[in-house]
Symmetry: C2
Subunit: 239 residues, 2 copies
């Protein structure tokens, strides 16, 4: 099989990281094209809307043979079905997709904590609003979303520690990334609240210990969190 | 077949409207349970996270036999495949889902124009920030998103006026709703910019003229836009 090609920004985890984790867990060969020499022109072409075909509004984009697939949840739907990272049943696939879309919602809200007014302005130009939005996010939204995932985990009749059925799915990988990102961005809020989600934290540890994920996290392929990504650590937002 | 049951707030179009339009276009019998007598308890139960099964984080939720499906794009993925509102090919289904997720992104941003700081505060308590965010939304985001959909439409080799292939899909229905919602919320910005998207406006008209959609829009089942939904008209946000 031709290796997959991931089109994503080369210096951040960002939304691309949810795709990278799935590719790594499944042990799939892929080219992270933005990080290659001369990688930027093909990355820009993948989101050039004037191209015919299926141009994406924004990265990440995954090239799979002739398919060019955009939107994280859509890419994971595709990879999950093809590589055993989701149940085979229709009900199981829909449930994974539903949970992934709920993760997408909180990720989007996490982004808006540092950009509540406009993605076209610098953080520094919307810091006042960012403080207000972050207070709401850490006080109301994190507990609501993570409490939801904790309940779903606790209610999974398979009891193996994963969120859907008895086996790992791409949703588990994304929940790992969500916890990691929130810990990086809002360490105080997470330290205060984590005891409320024992299942979710155990899931995070279980994913981190998977051989392919552990190897990935220790490699140079894992870009460290930084203040250009979605999860940003601005201490003043937790003051 | 047992009729579908839609669980959604009874007084707004909101995100539920994207599902209602698909059910109406396909001529499917459904119960809009929130609008029935005694409809609120089952609606609340559908998003009660402590229930086992597949509880949703938020409505809309669609009950289809034993399946309880949440998240708009996920519900449409299901309905599209089952009722001919999406292509049969894997490539076509992924492309519809990708476009729908991009619509979900702008819908979410439209919501945040009146709630940029918190969904837990009244609009009146974040009006200053709402003005800033709306200026960015109408000046930067609407043209970027709608320009994208226009290009995709223009590049569809089928040239029948729909966005994917030669037949109507749930994405067309959602684009209709997006244009309607933006016209309601930001009439000045839309009047100024609509000439830039002739294909999209023609698509809107084409959808509105479809017999099942025209009958629905003229019925009492179509709830008028109002200031409790996602698309809200606050004239001061365009001042």
């Amino acid at each position: 099989m031709e290796p997959y090609v991931l089109y994503y920004w080369p210096t951040i985890q960002g939304r691309g990281e949810f795709v990278r984790l799935a590719l790594e867990e499944a042990g799939l060969p892929y080219v992270d094209i933005g990080r290659e020499k001369e990688g930027m022109p093909p990355l820009m072409a993948s989101i050039d809307h004037s191209h015919p075909g299926t141009p994406s509004f924004a990265p990440p984009v995954l090239k799979a043979g002739d398919l060019l697939i955009g939107q994280v949840a859509n890419i994971l739907l595709f990879l999950g079905e093809r590589h055993g990272l989701a149940p085979r049943s229709e009900a199981g696939r829909l449930w994974c997709n539903q949970l992934q879309l709920t993760i997408a919602d909180i990720v989007s809200e996490a982004h808006d904590t540092h950009h509540p007014i406009s993605t076209n302005l610098y953080y520094e130009d919307q810091k006042r609003e960012a403080k207000k939005r972050s207070r709401d996010f850490t006080g109301e939204r994190i507990p609501k979303f993570l409490g939801y995932f904790e309940q779903v985990l606790q209610n999974n009749p398979a009891r193996g520690g994963y969120i859907v059925g008895a086996r790992i799915s791409y949703v588990d990988l994304s929940l790992f990334q969500l916890v990691e990102g929130l810990r990086y961005a809002f360490p105080k809020a997470m330290a205060q609240q984590e005891a409320n989600w024992p299942g979710l934290i155990a899931l995070r540890d279980k994913v981190a210990a998977r051989p392919n994920i552990a190897a990935y996290l220790a490699s140079e392929r894992r870009i460290p969190f930084n203040e250009d990504g979605i999860f940003r650590h601005y201490p003043e937002l937790e003051a």
